[in-house]
């Protein structure tokens, strides 16, 4: 009986927040050795701290001081062991066969993409010399192809050369129709990958692609070794247990021992391309337990150096921090916790073919007065304070970031109970029978409010129910096991796609920096319905012809300003017309030990993106 099953589906924010995400705007980014910038900063801070410490020291030789100041520079593997804890345990090290964040992060220590996003959401070259753009000729003028130039001299951890053939193989591996690759979206629209020579990769698209950085970019799309996976293509993919459990990569570490769902032991890659890195000789990557235990192991007992995604109430984090052995760090992607409003009637008396489908509109949630009042009654700053603390911000928008795409139309950081009541009165919703619940034409404002099981979500439910109660709306609460709720089993009545409730709360996000396909989630034909086996992304069954038309325009528009303008309008239409009530813009909170240096939390790529720069500070 699982009591500690706080396995909430934490939708995984991975993408990039480059406002200047189109090739014509990217500055020529020349390859820096890994992340020189961040290193330089921490280096400087470190030096200053050290100098203060050294003030009183008398017998400090210049040599010793230099060795100290250099701190995290030196020979490979000088800092011994670093231990990382994820409260979800990795079950496979092949990111193409899983799609789970835990597996992608665990494999990111080993396999790498051609380019990554940094903590700002900017593209940085990784296995290539520079990011191809139209300016440097890497992207063809008609935007249908992109040419990557691999840095010469990169080798796999087994000593063989890393070539363009491996890149091409990765494409073939993931797009094989029987392989069940989880990252197929990255290769959407790719017609071919060509390799004119060992160091050149040309990716061709079927149509002009303003954002050609899908394939081979970011932690979800790394390169795997052709030699190792040659026999594992398509239906044979699951049979290659050895390769799936220990991929050969170009990254800073190699897998020594993998115990699925438990622990991974890595050691430094002797053939890693950067001299003196990684600083650690071994990595222990432990999985399992729950977020509380993970936070405790880093911040209170100091048994571990890094804990991932601590979804805990701020006061719990605060107390752990008092343990003094670790510090939490937060970063923000486009993840938004929201209440979805059901446009259709989930009445259980309707037949299975018609329940929660467009055949029956919702009896009261389509009334602007009702959903606006519901939104006004919510005290969002309090929700942030109770649930997420430094890892949350108030938001009124579906697309909270990147900055250019984020609408400023709505104000919602003030709770207005009186305004909400007045709005309902005015629309004719009054409590005529004295039971505290408003009604109109025999329809009472009683709704079923469901979400997945997760301590913070249950607190939110309690708070929001209380506020709605105050304006005369009654909510019945229900919480469902996350594996059922987020699962797409058409046979279950409790999935979020079926939406057999009036409102439901969860969080969603998008990959990359461009919200076009994310905004497509509100198109009429994306609604889950019996004919589509209840699959589809338009959970609220929001449907407006104007919206569909405007979204089509977005697909044809180039130019960041114009696109941003349309995206904002689309965002506003959904919020204004009652598709959802956005609540909190959520960040990711991880914690690292005070003795671990070089950690840069990155929500746009794998959290393990710069693990080669990590070092021990004392």
């Amino acid at each position: 009986m699982g009591v500690s099953d706080r396995y909430c589906c934490f939708p995984f924010a991975m993408g990039a927040m480059i406002s200047q995400c189109f090739p014509w705007q990217i500055q020529k980014s020349v390859k820096k050795t890994a992340t020189t910038d961040t290193k330089a900063v921490s280096n400087m801070e470190y030096d200053m701290k050290l100098r203060t410490l050294m003030m009183g020291a008398v017998a400090t030789t210049a040599l010793a001081s230099m060795a100290f100041a250099a701190g995290h520079e030196g020979e490979r593997g000088r800092d011994g062991n670093v231990s990382i804890i994820y409260w979800q345990a990795p079950s496979i090290l092949n990111p193409f066969l899983s799609g789970g964040t835990k597996d992608i992060d665990a494999s990111a220590l080993v396999v790498e993409p051609l380019a990554r996003y940094d903590e700002q959401g900017q593209l940085v070259p990784w296995l290539v010399d520079e990011i191809p753009t139209t300016d440097n000729g890497g992207v063809s003028p008609d935007l249908t192809s992109i040419t990557w130039k691999i840095t010469p001299g990169i080798t796999w951890s087994d000593g063989t050369a890393f070539t363009s053939a491996d890149v091409k193989f990765t494409y073939e591996y993931c797009t094989h129709p029987e392989g069940g690759c989880a990252q197929q979206t990255a290769f959407q629209g790719v017609t071919s990958v060509e390799t004119p020579d060992d160091l050149t990769v040309i990716v061709t698209f079927d149509k002009p692609t303003p954002f050609p950085y899908g394939p081979f970019v970011g932690g979800t799309s790394p390169i795997i070794q052709a030699a190792q996976f040659a026999d594992c293509v398509g239906a044979r993919a699951p049979e290659c247990t050895e390769a799936n459990f220990g991929p050969i990569g170009t990254g800073p570490f190699v897998v020594d021992n993998f115990r699925p769902n438990d622990v991974i032991q890595y050691s430094a890659n002797e053939n890693y391309r950067v001299e003196g890195k990684p600083a650690f000789a071994q990595v222990t990557f432990k999985g399992g337990g729950d977020a509380t235990a993970a936070g405790r192991a880093v911040m209170e007992t100091g048994e571990f150096d890094y804990a991932w995604n601590l979804q805990l109430a701020p006061d719990v984090i605060g107390r752990m921090q008092e343990g003094g052995r670790g510090t939490p760090v937060a970063g923000f992607g486009p993840l938004v916790e929201r209440i979805m409003l059901n446009w259709t009637d989930p009445n259980p008396n309707l037949s299975a073919d018609e329940r929660a489908t467009a055949a029956h509109p919702h009896p009261f949630l389509r009334d602007p007065a009702v959903y606006k009042a519901m939104s006004m009654a919510i005290d969002r700053p309090l929700l942030v304070e109770v649930g997420y603390g430094q890892a949350g911000k108030v938001t009124c928008n579906w697309v909270p970031t990147p900055e250019v795409y984020s609408s400023t139309t709505f104000q919602c950081d003030q709770q207005d109970l009186d305004g909400a009541k007045a709005m309902l009165e005015e629309a004719g919703w009054v409590d005529s029978n004295g039971d505290g619940i408003r009604e109109k034409d025999g329809v009472e404002l009683r709704l079923l409010y469901q979400t997945s099981t997760n301590a913070v979500r249950q607190d939110f439910q309690a708070l929001i129910k209380d506020w709605w109660r105050q304006i005369g709306i009654d909510a019945e609460l229900r919480n469902l096991d996350a594996s059922v709720f987020f699962g797409g089993d058409p046979g279950s009545p409790d999935t979020f796609q079926k939406f057999y409730a009036d409102v439901q709360m969860y969080a969603n996000t998008f990959d990359g920096t461009d919200p076009q396909s994310y905004l497509g989630n509100a198109l009429c034909d994306k609604a889950p319905r019996p004919a589509s086996q209840w699959q589809g992304e338009n959970i609220s069954r929001f449907c407006m012809e104007e919206y569909d038309a405007l979204h089509a325009t977005l697909g044809e528009t180039a130019g960041i300003e114009a696109r941003a303008e349309i995206a904002k309008q689309l965002n506003d239409m959904v919020v204004e017309n009652g598709g959802m009530i956005p609540l909190v813009h959520r960040g990711r909170l991880s914690a690292h030990s005070t003795t671990l240096g070089g950690v840069v939390l990155n929500v746009w790529d794998s959290e393990m993106w710069n693990v080669s720069d990590w070092y021990r500070t004392e």
Binding site: V3, S4, V263, E303, A482
Partner: protein
């Protein structure tokens, strides 16, 4: 008795087949989806393709048949091959190569053989859960016997109090409590169990012992409470029987009366409880293993359940079912040994 045992063993086979079918159908019926932990950003079409790659599109009876073949035919081949090739006990036998590359039972999460997960997590479970069971039983039996013998003495009252408190506090509370006290405040024991730790010498043995203490304590508390209660009540039932008076009257030593006459007649409910408990060792202690991150069978089962990894859940549960049937049979045989009046024929 021998005929009974053999007959029951033979009858176990259809029983187990039926149980496997029931479990399989239950898992098919249960809502849930192996794609539930894939991020929402992965579109439904891709998820559908991943489902197809897992073989989810096939009809139910085909899936069941495949599982049966894999479990009863292919996996035993792999096991026998391993026995004759690598195991220390049978390596002297000529190498058998029965297994010739058919598809083994593949977990949906790891895409690796399910049996590897079993092999990997069995030692942890045996060390921690098995040890706690042995400790628990060894503490419980004397407590139960002495509590009954000195009915309503201070010892009996204290024992009752402690065991009942222990039983009524759930392990999801005792686990973190012990961690906070002994790992965070006192810093005596680690809060996370290191599953890759190898015992090679005395020092590493001490480390192993230290990391085992907390989970074993939590688990042993539950076992002790349960078994000592049954032991005590069964002893009480028998201590006032006429045959005890007779035994005393004919001058037997008190120790013999209690430990031989009474104990043997009181063992039936205790044997039942212990026999039910041993399969649950292999079922693992789901909550405790999770709290201390012991990568045991229960922990693997929990993860598989949440990931809707049906082949893994099915296999783990079925191994568990085999043990249940087997140990209930052993209990039945033991009843006959303890009380010769019980006859099954």
């Amino acid at each position: 008795m021998l005929t009974f045992t053999i007959r029951r063993l033979i009858l176990s086979v259809p029983t187990l087949l039926f149980i496997s079918l029931a479990i399989f159908l239950l898992l098919q019926l249960a809502p849930g989806d192996p794609m539930s932990q894939v991020p929402l950003t992965v579109p439904p079409e891709v998820k559908e393709k991943m489902r197809q790659a897992l073989g989810l599109g096939e009809p139910v009876h085909v899936q069941y048949w495949k599982w049966m073949v894999q479990f009863f035919w292919i996996e035993p081949q792999v096991f026998i091959d391993w026995l004759t090739r690598e195991s220390t006990l049978f390596a002297w036998l000529p190498d058998t190569s029965l297994y010739d590359g058919q598809l083994r039972m593949i977990s949906w999460q790891t895409r690796g053989p399910v049996m590897d997960l079993v092999v990997q997590s069995l030692p942890q479970t045996l060390w921690v859960v098995g040890m706690s069971y042995v400790v628990g039983v060894l503490i419980a039996l004397p407590i139960g016997i002495y509590s009954a013998y000195r009915h309503y003495s201070v010892f009996d009252q204290a024992g009752t109090f402690v065991t009942m408190i222990g039983f009524s506090i759930p392990p999801f509370f005792t686990g973190p409590l012990l961690i906070v006290i002994f790992a965070v405040q006192l810093d005596w024991f680690p809060s996370v169990y290191n599953t890759v730790h190898q015992v090679v010498d005395w020092d590493s043995f001490v480390i192993q012992l230290r990391q085992m203490i907390l989970p074993v304590m939590v688990l042993a508390l539950q076992t002790t409470a349960q078994i000592s209660r049954y032991m005590r009540s069964a002893m009480l039932d028998n201590l006032n029987q006429d045959y005890v008076r007779t035994a005393r009257a004919k001058g037997l030593k008190e120790g013999v009366v209690v430990m031989v006459h009474v104990l043997r007649n009181s063992m039936i409910p205790v044997i039942t409880v212990i026999a039910l408990g041993i399969p649950s060792i292999f079922g693992g202690a789901i909550i405790t293993e999770n709290v201390f991150k012991v990568n045991g069978l229960g922990y693997q089962l929990l993860i598989a359940l949440f990931a809707n990894d049906i082949p893994t859940v099915m296999t783990f549960t079925f191994i568990f079912a085999i043990l249940i049937v087997l140990f209930n049979l052993i209990a039945d045989v033991l009843y006959g040994v303890l009380d010769p009046r019980i006859r099954y024929d």
